[in-house]
Symmetry: C2
Subunit: 217 residues, 2 copies
């Protein structure tokens, strides 16, 4: 019976071999690069295959459809991308919690700009592949954190501000540096690469947003 397990069992965890693990990873990594640069339609399977260092039919052996790669990629990174939001602690100090959140987001924009661009592109085109995710997973999470922020405002710990718009503003500003990178570079030139640029950015974003929501007495 031990052998039978290696055959497909209805709900079995689909045993994955060593080679499968390696190649799926290679493909997904390559696909992230390419999809985030050219979008879904703008990307060809050949491009991904070449970057992953394998033939197209080989790639299709692991992901039978182009869509599969794309969706797997989105799912894989979405939760991770949202993790910082989930970490906002209702019991913590409001300004401190938001400072932490914004800082984390700026770091992510800097370290994983491809992930940011992948989402941005997907949303920009109407989120055909993840609209379910948006309503079933993202919305409840945002609703919850909006509730937390609203409570903080009610307790006078923050200036009166619409929590949803505050969250959108944080997303917009932090992801801007990843999504609109070429524009930022075109305008700020060589500064962008320089060490300390990220810190300077974080400083500017934090001072404006936090300054804008600190309670006035």
């Amino acid at each position: 019976m031990a052998r039978a397990e290696s055959k497909k069992l209805k709900d079995a965890p689909e045993k994955t071999t060593r080679i499968q693990e390696i190649n799926r990873r290679l493909i997904l990594d390559a696909a992230l690069d390419v999809f985030s640069t050219y979008g879904f339609r703008g990307t060809t399977i050949d491009q991904i295959a070449e970057r992953a260092g394998m033939s197209k039919p080989n790639l299709l052996y692991y992901f039978p459809r182009k869509q599969n790669i794309y969706v797997t990629l989105l799912e894989e990174t979405l939760t991770e991308w949202l993790a910082p939001l989930a970490e906002i602690d209702a019991e913590g100090d409001p300004i401190e919690q938001l400072r932490k959140y914004i800082t984390l987001k700026i770091n992510m924009s800097e370290t994983h700009p491809e992930a940011s661009r992948l989402f941005a592109n997907e949303i920009l085109h109407g989120a055909p592949a993840i609209s379910d995710f948006l309503t079933k997973y993202l919305k409840p999470l945002v609703d919850e954190k909006a509730g937390v922020i609203r409570r903080w405002v009610g307790e006078g710990k923050l200036a009166p501000v619409d929590p949803y718009h505050l969250i959108f503003m944080i997303w917009a500003t932090t992801q801007h540096y990843a999504d609109f990178d070429v524009q930022v570079r075109a305008i700020m030139g060589s500064q962008v690469g320089r060490p300390g640029f990220k810190e300077q950015t974080a400083q500017a974003v934090l001072s404006i947003i936090l300054g804008g929501i600190k309670p006035r007495n």
Copy 2:
């Protein structure tokens, strides 16, 4: 010789007929819709032709290449899109000037979301068609206005803030509502369509940003 003018003269203003004017407009309007939704690669000439109500060869009679439509469209809207920035008046009241600018941008995001998405998509994919524009036209303009803001800060009329990051933040937040519309809708639901939503948005954005840059005494 009067007739000779109708023939192509090197630098002549390329006489355009009534029909040309109408059809070019039809094509560009249709193309804006389609390109802003599906991106350059995701758009087919047939789609544009159908939406413009003409045959594909007919469309190609006016714009011999798909690229031509796209580039014309970008150029046509880019300057218009930037106009509000140019209007910032160094002699005016800083807070008032920025309030006006932000309000104009939010209005544009609401009235021309397709234009916003067209640019967003182009920038997201590395701005292959307009990188020249960015450095030759956008950068100087931003540099100038950044200078104005820096002066205001120096005069103590604004809290110390990096002018470039402030401008990016305004762009990011205002355009977010056009570019990430589906996400905003997924989260805020029916509120988005409601009358007054735009005003509420403007109010939230203005209060945070302006609150964040008002001078502290």
